[in-house]
Structures are given as C-alpha cells and as structure tokens.
Symmetry: D3
Subunit: 227 residues, 6 copies
C-alpha cells in the first residue's frame, strides 16, 4: 500500500468550486454533513487564530526530521490545492518555514496541513499563509531521504487520498473524499439553510428544548425535574 | 451520590454581587484568598485570550459525545450564572457552538466551563461569549442519553456544587464554595489592598528581598553567596 | 554537580551586543547556526503571540510549588539578562506573576524562561514582559525551601550554564553557550546573507528543486515520477 | 468545602462485609452495577499485575512533594480500610514506600490508592501490598505542610467521601458511595448470576448476536450485509 | 470512503500460512522487512507481557463508548483472523472483556487489536487471549449505534484493509498489506538468515563496527577519536 | 558545549566498587542520599519488572531515528559500565534490540538507559539484560548521521557526565556525579543503618507518628483532631 520514492503527477482532484464552497461552511458544518467522519485529531491547531482554508489535497509522506519531499511536492501544487503532510513516525521538528511558505504561496497553495512541527510562525502569520500543525518548533530538518508525493496517507488519524477536499479553520481539519464532495456540499447547505432563523429565535430567548421539540423525548427517556 | 436523569430546579446560589466582585479580583488572587484550593486543572484554557467571567454555577453532567443535557441546562440558567459541564469519561468532542452560545447568552449566562471540547471558536470569539474548555474540536455530538442538571460534579479535578462561585480568566478557573464566598471576598480584598504600593516600589527597583524582609530568613535557612 | 542553597554572584556573561544581535536572527536561524543543538523542548511556549527576547542567562533552580528563589535571583539580574528557571520535579504551578515581572523589568531583565507555570497572563501581556513557560496556572507558590542561583541547570531538556545566550521567540527557546556565541553569530549571519534573494526567487515561482539543485540528487536517490 | 489541617476521627464506614463482597465482583462488574459512575481515570494503575483489593475509604489530602499526612492517616486506619490519597496539584513524587507499607499493613489496611507516585515497587510487590498510583518515582518527599484526613476528596477525577467502598483491581479503581453499597452489591450479584451460563454458550460458539437477540434491533437500526 | 452501517461478508484474506510464518518473525523483523512502514503507534501495548499473535485482519469501526459492532464482527471471524478495531474519536472505555474474548476465541480469533480500552485483564491473561490496546479501563459501553465491519480503517495511525496480515507482539503491531505479504515474508526470511551467526560473533566480543564494516564510513563521515 | 562527531576514549570513571555498592541500595535510597537531586523523569521505565543495575556511565548522543553511534559506543564499554543514551529530539523509535544487547553484554555492560525506544523486549527479558527506556517500539533505525560518545548529555531531564554512577531499578534512574559518589555512598549507608529496626517496629504496629516524634510538630503546625 505504501510506496516510497514515488511522485504521482496526475491525480483526480475534486471540483475546485465545490472545495471553495465547502470551505465557506467551515469545518464543523462540513464534518456534520459528512456524518461526523473524516476529522483529524483535535491536536491539529492553526498557527494563528482565525486561519481558514479549503482546497484539494496534494499529499506528501515525510520521514522524521527530513523535509526534502516538501520541495518535491511544491512542484505538484496547482492553484487551489492544500498540501497535506504526514510523517512515518511521531516528530515535532519544524519542517516548514517562511521560505517554503513563499514558494507554496507562489504556486497557488491555499495552505498546509502537517502532522509535525513548523517554524517562522511570526512570518507565516504576517503572510497570512494558513498552516495547521501539531507543534511549533525552531528545530530544522535535513534533506536526505525519499518519501512520496500523492499517495494515500494517514494524517493525524485521518486517511487522505490525493484530490480529496480539505476544509480547515479554528475548529480543526476535515477531509472530504472527492467522491462525496458534491453530496457533502448539499448536506452542508441543507444544514445551514435555516440556521439564521434558529439563531434569531434562540437570541430572542426561545429554548432549544422547545425549538427542537425535545421535551417529550426527554420525558420519555425518564428525565425528572425536582423542585 | 451521582443521580442520572434528574434536574434540580431550585439551587441555593451564592450572592450574585459577591460573585461579581470576586470576578474583579481574577482567578489568581481568588485562589490565593481561598488558601490555594479549588483550582481546576491547568489544561482548562479560554478559547480566546483575555476571556474573563464570574458567576454562580449551574452544573450539568454529560455523557461522552452527547450534548443533549446542554439544552436542558439552558432552561435553568438565570442571569449571572456560569454553566459548568463535566463528562462521565474523557472526551474532546465539540459539545457547544454558536447556536447554544446564542441561547445561553440570551438566558443571561456569563460563560461556559466545560471539561471537554467546543467548536465555532471564531464565532464565540466574535460574540465575546467566554468559554473555558480542554479542547477545540469540530466533532459534533448526538442527543440520546440523559445526564443530570444541578447535581454536584467533578470538573477538571475540582468539585463543583450548584450555586458555587466560579471565577475564570486567562489564568484558569477557580471554584469558590457558596459558603466561603463572603470570607474569600474579604481575604481577596485584603490581599489586594496594598498591591499598588508594592508594585510602585518594585517598579522603582526595590527588591522583594528587602520589601518582604526575606534576607534574614534566607540566611537562617542557610543560603550562601559566593563571589 | 548540583549544589543547593548557593548563589553565585559573579558569572561570566556572553557579550551583550552579540546576544542582542543573535536575538535579531530569531530562534530558528540561531538553532540552525548552532548545528541544530541547544533547543528547549517545544512545549515551551510564549505567553503571548509575538513575544521576542534575547539576553544572557542568569539561572535559578526551584523546588516544586516554591518560588522563594525568584526573589533571590532578582537581585542578580543585570540589564540585558534573561532569567532561566528550572524545577527539581515536574510542576505547573504559577511561580511568576505581575509583581515579580515588575521587579524583573525594573532590574533590566529581557524576559523569563521557566519550565513550570506562570500567572497574571493578561498583565504580562499588557506590560509586554515576554515569558516562555510550559503552563499557565493561577496556582500560587510558597516561599520555604532554598534552591540555587547561577548554577548550571537543565531547563526543558537543555543544559543552561549561567552567562549563556538565550534566544526566544514564537518558534521556541535556544541556548547558545557563551563560548560559541561569536561563532554562532557569524554562522547565523552567513545563513541569512542571501535569504532575501532566495525569497524573491521563490515568490516569483522558482522552485526550490531548481534553486537548490535538488533534481539530480533526488534522481540519484531513486525518485520516480509517475504520470 | 475543603478544610486544611483537620483530622476527622469518626467516620461512618460502609459495612465491611459488603465491601468485601463487592471486591469479589471486581471493578468492572461493580462499575456496571453502579450505572457506570464512580470510576477513577484509567491512568490509575496497580504497581504489580494481579493486584486486587476492596475496603472502606479513609481519605487524605496531601500537598505536592509532602507526605507528612500519610503518617497521620496511618493512625486512623482500621482493619478493612483502604487509604485513598489526593494531592492539591499534579505531582508524580514517590510519596509511599516499604516502610509506610509495613505500617499500613500492620494497621490492617487493604491497600493504597494515590493520585501521585510511589516507590520501593519491588518490595511492595514482594509484600503483596496492593497499590494503585499514577506514577512510580524514586523521588522522596518532605514532611512540612498540613493537609487533612477524612475529608471528601477528588482523587483521579472521582469524588471520594470517607467510608465509601473502594473496589480496585487490574481494570481500575471504583468508588461506591456508602449509601449505595448494598444496592450496588445486589445489582452486581444480579449481573453475575448467569454469567457462567453465558460464558459456556459463547465458548460453544453461540454468537452474542443470537444470545442477546441483537439481530432484529441491528436490522431495525439499518445494518446492511453486503456479500 | 467511510460507510456506516455496513458489514462486508466476503473479504480477500491474505494467505493464512504466510500470516502464520510472518508471525514467527515478530513485529520488529516484519516491520524492517516492510521497509519500516505499517507500524501502529507505540502506545498500543499488549495487556500481558509475552503476548504474541498473527493473523488476517477483520476490521470494525466503533463509536465512542459503544461496542455493539464487536458482536457483529464476531460472526465474521474465521479461524486465523485477528480483529482490528478503530473508534471514530479518542476513547479509553473498556470495550472488550472476558465474555467477548470467550466468543472470539470460540470463533477462532488469534487476538484483538483495539485503539481504545479493554477490561477483565486478569481473565484475558489467564485465558491467554492476546489483546493490544491503548488503555485498560473498567468502564463498560452501550450498544446503540451502528458502525461498520470489514471496511478500511485507520487504527492507531495505521491504515488497515480487511484481509491484511497483522503481526503483533511485545514490540508492537505491524500491518502487512495482503498484496505485500509474500514479498515481506521473503524479505523477513532473508534478514533472519544469518542472524544466528551474527549473534554468535557479537557474543564472542566481535564489534558491530567490524562485523558491519562501519569503521571506514564513520571515518569518511568525519568521526574523530580523542584520547 | 555540544560537539558532534567526536568520541572521547579516556574518561574518568567513578570507582567501580562504589558504583556496585550504590546499586545495592537502590534508586530511591541513593536519590535521598544525594539530597533528592539527579533523578531522571519518571517516564523512564524498565522493560521488565525487577530490572536492577548500577555502573559507570558511558554516554552517547544520537539523532532521531539513527542508531549508528550505538555501535560506536559499544567499543568504549568496559566491564561495569552502563550505556546512557540521549537523542537530539523526542523520538520513540526502537534503537536497540537483541543483537546490540548481545554485543553490549559481551563487552561487560551492566545495562542501557535510553531516552527513546527499544525493541526485542521478549529477548531482552530472557537475556536478563536490563534496559530503561521511554518507549517500546518495533520501529528500527538507520545508520547515517554522526553523534558523539562520552560527552556530557541531558538524558530524560538529567545531566549525565561520562564516568558518573548510574543506579537504576523499578523505581527509576538516578545519576550520581563521580565526585559525589563516595559521599553519597556514606549517606546512603547511614540512611539504611537502622531501617531494619524501624521496619520491625512499624510491623509491630508502632506508628510513624510516635517513632519519628511527629505529634508535637504536627500540633505546633496547627493540626486539629475532630471527633
């Protein structure tokens, strides 16, 4: 299943327009729309508050302490892509900094999701290049060992196939398989359809208990009120 | 001790004015004034920097991955309350987001303290609805199992009895038992009484060694200076 | 090797000008220039985003839950120093708050690095007194046990000898031995010399693969491209 | 709620016979019988495989790095008790070793549950004195600060009131409130009543799907089999 | 990619003889033979020392706190299989105990690998039913939500496709894709071919430096000996 | 301070007889005798229960995922040594297995202490070659990068200078600087002198409260007994 030393140049990307529209819904809504599947572990955090991105995944498998393949993957980025990077063992090294961010941005990348560390956080923040990582570390890496580009990878507990849609924001990172992107978009839109109305009601003091008709099922489940 | 499926509607709340005045001292001062008891574990963090809240606790016991009781507790909120939520097992799911925050706020809640995850962090920040949690996660929850409202709970290592005062800020979350609230307030006020003077002295270069008369006890303890 | 209850008053500090110039390069560059040694564990984080400091280390060894020696070390601070504090066992208590920060600042300290917790984060942020710690906690400490000042300590996995240069920012905390400070400064300067040019090329879309001549070594290592 | 410096000499212990009989069911069965409440966090582990104990709780609240109160609690132990120890902040120090174990055993203690570290593990194992702890550490402690004995404490996330029944084995530590002990015993007995029969059926190859009549509810829930 | 509520009854299992022979080499050797891929995270530990198993994977995706699907997967077990279980979010609950172990064993299962908790550890040990888990917990689970059986899952960071070979022992758990099983077996055999001879040399005092001809490459890399 | 690519062949070892006698006291007693300094973090655990070792330290600094220098250090082992290994970044890979253990044992090593992972745990246990590590992992390592041998290192939070005495058992790993070895031995012997008598008294039911004359200081500290 895992091949080392290969770069797949042609991948089937999900529709970029769908990716953008999924991004507008945010990670929480998209995750619900997916049936609560496809979320990376919650240790994946944006390097600055308010980071938001969506796009199609180009994937890269790295070795601990070695970021050589990030240069290889840079060439495979097309506008609208998000790079998703996994490592073959736990590592918090700073694989990615301002120079690579400059390069990725120039290639049209929407951001980076990496199950490892990054650095130059101040500059990444100033550049507004969104990155989700599990650590921040000044520790640099070497460039000696081959990994692979655009193979299926496991990143922070989630399977990512090249071309999948990635939706990431303050709430986390969600992977939407390319084949489910359209359907997920529709489900997300349906979920959001009457959110504004609900919010207005709740703001006016209406209780979820009433708005969602929960009183009867709660009573049936045996809830007792004691004065 | 733990009852499931019950909602206590009448709890004895600490005085709301005392709760507000305790909040003005902040978590660190109140914790000192309590004799260094009642602090939740330091993994409880505000979802945005600068969050501050104090109020009387309404408590809720939840099950992993199930936020049904957050709707039940909403009805029990009175202006000036803080909702404190515990879960029967470790869970990082996102139990709480912008809709529930809208509802809680409309009911007069001062904030939420939850030993689990929350989501919609961007909106919570924009709303200035303060939340302390142990995780941020896009993962939503179901509504199928009964917990309880306004029973004593253990939240992040601290026992919380309904009606206790909660003081929370960037430094953490402190629980002040209702019976100790007045006494703690006095102790906090006494601690703060000459803080301004101390700060001015220290800013002028006076050493704590001299201001607190530490040189003699340090010498007695055997401290040696070597040139 | 470890002495308790001693304060060394005379330490050989690295050149303060070199410390300042190393600070301008930032932790990531300095760490590279050191040959990737001397980095504290990545759990050491600034208490506010954008914190930056460099200076010469005055060290202090503390006991769990006891900050007495922070008052002792305050007297040993000279303008341009950074206080580096270790604890004899893991502890997240809040050893340091606004009063000590006022005192340290008045003495000319550039910041604090502590392998434990701190508090009064809101005030530290407002004061712009930079602190790197492993935790934030409202829990205060006692003043009963002697530690030592200006002995070699292990802080967050790194050996710190009094007088070493400390460089800290969002990316972490690096320790530069005094004897290597000049050489590290030169190496850092050399690394940065053509960064601007590189950044411009990458921003223009040139790939690292080409700029760093990686294609040939990648091919030699066996990288295969598959269409 | 939390008093420091007090020792309650008279506590209402649960019936010792019930405690012993609950112990025979083991932690997993008792926890089920309690309605899945009262379990300490799973980081609490026995210091040797196969450790088993049950008894009535005498509680002690300790300070980080200080085991003075373990000597105080020793005097309060009656045959059939289990000592349950909490600390006011996270600490992994080795509070308890072979001498205290000798003393506790002589007093009739059934074991120790401590949310901190212990040492002399080899001797504890040889003595067959069962201990559940969150860490093992050679680091000793001082004897300088007062805590309390026989007050309600929070230990590893569970509230323990003096006199409660503690059931501990390889699977973890369960707290049964004294008032629920009899009822829990009956529920545990009922659960176990036909375990032997079930085990025999399953060993003979009968599926839980059939033995528990799960096929119909699974189908109703929508389970699909695909060949 | 992830389907909920489905059970695939027909999967293509790797050859059972190859699975058994891979097991004889152990996890470390097989992992090397795979090119150091396919290892689960090292937090996966056997519940008793010396546990060893190999077999073909039947997979199951569970929900937090819900073990219903373990009964469903039991029916799909064939002699020589190992059950591999993942959960849709982090959970340490005790999903599996002595009754399910009795059932799995009766169906011919070689063991269980579960990215969650188990219980009845004493009985599992006595039964010699090998289990690898990330936790041990007395906390039981409910039976209310559908997951899936024999779909690809991510377990402890590794992708497992139904029918893959699993090799597990004290050193960890390795996943060998069915398509690579034969080739991996050959590579493992080749690695082991002259292990006995090497071990004898090393036992006789021959250095790896000489046996592996490392002196010359070490010198070339710049290693300096200082007397 | 840290040199890469060097091997110091001549180090000043502590007296081997003292090292052996310190070992007989065990880690807890030696740590007390040192004034509670020099203990490695408690995450360092023996790979099998009952492991015990003491000896003089030969040190090695490794890179993540690279065990080349373990072959280099093997040549520097003299009978009575313990190898102490640190890594320049957090890593759980299995650096050490049965072949290296065979080699180390043949050279006279008393054991290995490594702030990383090891493998072949079953064989290490059968060989009775004691190892303390922070992880167990089947993941092997490469042999490509130079570290150093016999330089001062930081291992699991403790500074280790070549030639120091290491005492390790179930309770953890203690480092005794060579210069303090004799003095520590005397202090340890003094501590143990009347342990037997104390144990006998405690076993007879005498309380520590009386044996150590604690009642008066406890009363002075304000302890209150409540009936």
């Amino acid at each position: 299943m895992v091949e080392l030393g290969v770069v797949y140049r042609n991948i089937r990307r999900a529709d970029s327009d769908i990716a953008a529209r999924l991004g507008a819904f945010g990670a929480a809504t998209v995750h619900e729309a997916m049936g609560r599947m496809g979320l990376m572990k919650p240790y994946m955090r944006p390097v600055y508050a308010g980071a938001q991105a969506s796009g199609t995944a180009v994937t890269v498998l790295l070795h601990p302490g070695d970021n050589w393949m990030l240069h290889v993957v840079a060439e495979q980025i097309r506008p609208g892509d998000i790079v998703v990077a996994a490592v073959t063992a736990d590592c918090t090294d700073g694989y990615f900094g301002d120079l690579l961010a400059t390069s990725f941005k120039a290639r049209g990348a929407q951001g980076l999701v990496i199950d490892a560390g990054v650095r130059d956080v101040r500059v990444l923040t100033a550049m507004k290049f969104p990155v989700w990582s599990k650590a921040i570390s000044a520790k640099g890496t070497v460039k000696t060992t081959l990994g692979s580009v655009n193979i299926p990878i496991v990143c922070a507990g989630a399977l990512v196939t090249p071309g999948d849609v990635i939706v990431a924001d303050d709430d986390g990172v969600v992977v939407v398989p390319a084949t489910l992107a359209q359907k997920t978009l529709e489900a997300a839109a349906a979920r959001e359809a009457n959110e504004g109305e609900k919010r207005a009601k709740l703001a006016a003091g209406v209780l979820g208990l009433d708005m969602y008709n929960m009183r009867e099922p709660l009573q049936r489940a045996g809830l007792k009120y004691i004065d």
